[in-house]
């Protein structure tokens, strides 16, 4: 299985990653290699093997429904580029 340069560009766009044109060929090669490993694995006989969603065979620990966090927005917002009246300000996005 091999990816094309345009596949790589699309994946990078979806992940909002800026990649250098010059690196595209290398990425295409490496990512195709990973997919080929998947193809190889799918050739294995997995009859009777339960699929796992997580490498640890355990269930999720649940939390009691209690409010344990206090308001620390001033502290969190100290590292925000721009805030106004408690709101984070970002470039306008409208759909």
């Amino acid at each position: 299985m091999s990816l094309t340069a345009s596949d790589v560009k699309k994946i990078a766009h979806l992940a909002r990653l800026g990649i250098d044109e010059l690196d595209i060929e290398a990425y295409t090669h490496d990512l195709s290699g990973m997919l080929n490993l998947m193809v190889q694995m799918s050739d294995l006989n997995t009859d009777g093997i339960e699929p796992m969603a997580h490498p640890m065979e355990q269930g999720q620990r649940l939390r009691t429904d209690e409010v344990t966090e206090r308001d620390q927005h001033k502290q969190f917002q100290a590292i925000a580029p721009q805030v106004d009246s408690g709101l984070y300000l970002v470039p306008k996005v409208i759909e």
């Binding site: 992940a15 269930g59 429904d65 969190f76 306008k92």
Partner: protein, 478 residues
């Protein structure tokens, strides 16, 4: 229009009424100061880990049981990846392949007929924050208080065939989640939101047409209008030679139209994968049994019982079982007053509901609680007051924290059943109105009402109406 069949499926997001968020200990209260309820987990700070809220799981399971669905013994959280400023992590934690609630159903009533609507699944996920686009000069303000609020997304089968059916389904679901106490159902505050998938196909065609998704329609009225509008648009488009494209459309309630939001194909590339930060959720038989034991009597069963045990009609039974607090209020009133259940039902769905509506109050905030209403109804039952005087007493009780007996005694409203007193009044009125007496005796029955009115007026409405009728009849017959 008559050559087309409409196909609708709904996705409903219900905010679960937990105190804290689905994966963090931050509060979920509505209306707090911006970002005062967004903690490091909600903000997606590096190094934080989500820990699942047990109450959110319990609520999802109780919902699943109420729609007779399969509860997954093993379900998995997945990351849905997309970029938007109100989604700090760059992904939403949701469920994809293994949702917590599997196939179930809900029965709706439309035009006197019952129709079963399939529910494909219901899954747990986190809500996003809110973007405010006004007043920031080319910037958007982001409030992340809502980020991480637990949602149960309930996905129906494409089983609805009209906007009316869609509204009936939505109402029924709204009623159910409030009844179960898992969602406050406040649509203005966004606790119950609906997306509709709408398509049309020529009648008789087996395969579905291409669907458009209408986003975030937040009132029952708008759901009906938005769907009807979208159906018209699609039919017009196809009949004039066009094609419906799969896309997301936004309903504009001011212009009463839907408009394209974004092409679904690209936005749909969410690249789901199991969230490595969360282990699978394992629901044991023991946990299920515990929840099953807490499952309240469901509206359908309760309505049937109200009809059988209390002899209520369909309307009263439906209205009284629409919410659990209302049903409880009714049963408590019947028990406390010892009165006929129909009398209680009529007062609660009549005068009390009207007063609550007018004041914009819920039954739980009623100024007249059930023991006081029961006190009033008991006085109607034992004929201390008439139903008409009771309305006057109720008004007084609504305004002031007094009992029915206090009002009756203070205002001297006790009904007069003493036949001697009633008879002497009747004698006086007959003597003063001999013409009418003659008319009655010559066969003009209608004049009877005139005499009742006169007696009641003379006795300031306090005469026992049955006694007045009886005595008057005897006297007039002479």
């Amino acid at each position: 229009m008559e050559n087309w069949e409409v196909v609708i499926g709904l996705e409903i997001h219900t905010q679960l009424a937990t105190k804290s968020k689905i994966f963090s200990g931050a509060a979920t209260a509505y209306g707090a100061a911006p970002n005062s309820q967004a903690c490091a987990v909600d903000l997606g700070f590096p190094g934080v880990l989500p820990v699942l809220n047990q109450e959110a799981v319990r609520m999802a399971v109780i919902f699943g049981m109420a729609i007779e669905a399969h509860i997954a013994p093993y379900s998995v959280f997945a990351r849905k990846n997309y970029f938007y400023p109100d989604l700090p992590k760059g992904y939403q934690i949701s469920q994809m392949d293994l949702p917590i609630v599997g196939i179930g159903h809900l029965d709706i009533d439309v035009d006197g007929e019952t129709k079963r609507i399939g529910i494909t699944r219901a899954h747990l996920e986190e809500d996003a924050g809110k973007s405010l686009h006004e007043n920031f000069q080319g910037l958007s303000g982001i409030d992340l208080n809502r980020a991480g609020t637990p949602l149960l997304e309930i996905v129906s089968e494409p089983d609805m065939r009209s906007a009316k059916e869609a509204v009936a389904y939505m109402r029924k679901l709204h009623e159910l989640v409030r009844y179960l106490g898992i969602c406050d159902g406040n649509m203005q505050e966004g606790s119950f939101r609906c997306d509709a998938n709408v398509s049309v196909r020529p009648k008789g065609q087996a395969e579905f047409g291409t669907r458009a998704e209408i986003k975030n329609i937040n009132s029952f009225k708008f759901v009906e209008k938005a769907i009807n509008h979208e159906v018209e648009r699609q039919i017009e488009l196809i009949e004039s030679g066009g094609r419906v494209v799969q896309e997301t459309r936004l309903y504009d309630s001011v212009k009463d139209e839907t408009r394209s939001m974004r092409s679904k194909e690209e936005a749909n590339d969410y690249r789901y994968f199991p969230d490595p930060d969360l282990l699978p959720v394992i629901i044991s038989e023991e946990f299920k049994a515990q929840i099953k034991a807490q499952l309240p009597e469901l509206p359908v069963a309760k309505k049937q019982r109200f009809k059988e045990v209390y002899g209520l009609d369909e309307d009263n039974a439906t209205q009284l079982t629409s919410s659990r607090p209302l049903a409880d209020y009714f049963e408590a009133t019947v028990a406390a007053s010892g009165c006929d259940a129909k009398l209680c039902a009529n007062w609660i769905t009549g005068d009390l509901s009207a007063a609550l509506n007018k004041a914009g109050l819920e039954i739980s905030d009623s100024p007249v609680n059930y023991p006081r209403l029961a006190g009033l109804l008991a006085r109607i039952s034992d004929e201390t007051i008439s139903g008409k005087i009771a309305k006057q007493v109720f008004e007084e009780m609504w305004q002031h924290p007094v009992s029915a007996d206090d009002v009756i005694n203070a205002k001297g409203l006790r009904q007069i059943s003493d036949s001697g007193a009633i008879e002497s009044i009747i004698d006086g009125i007959m003597a003063a109105n001999m013409d009418q007496v003659e008319q009655y005796r010559s066969g003009k029955d209608k004049v009877f009402g005139f005499f009742v009115g006169q007696v009641m007026r003379e006795m300031q409405g306090k005469a026992n109406p049955a006694e007045v009728n009886k005595r008057l009849m005897a006297k007039l017959k002479g």
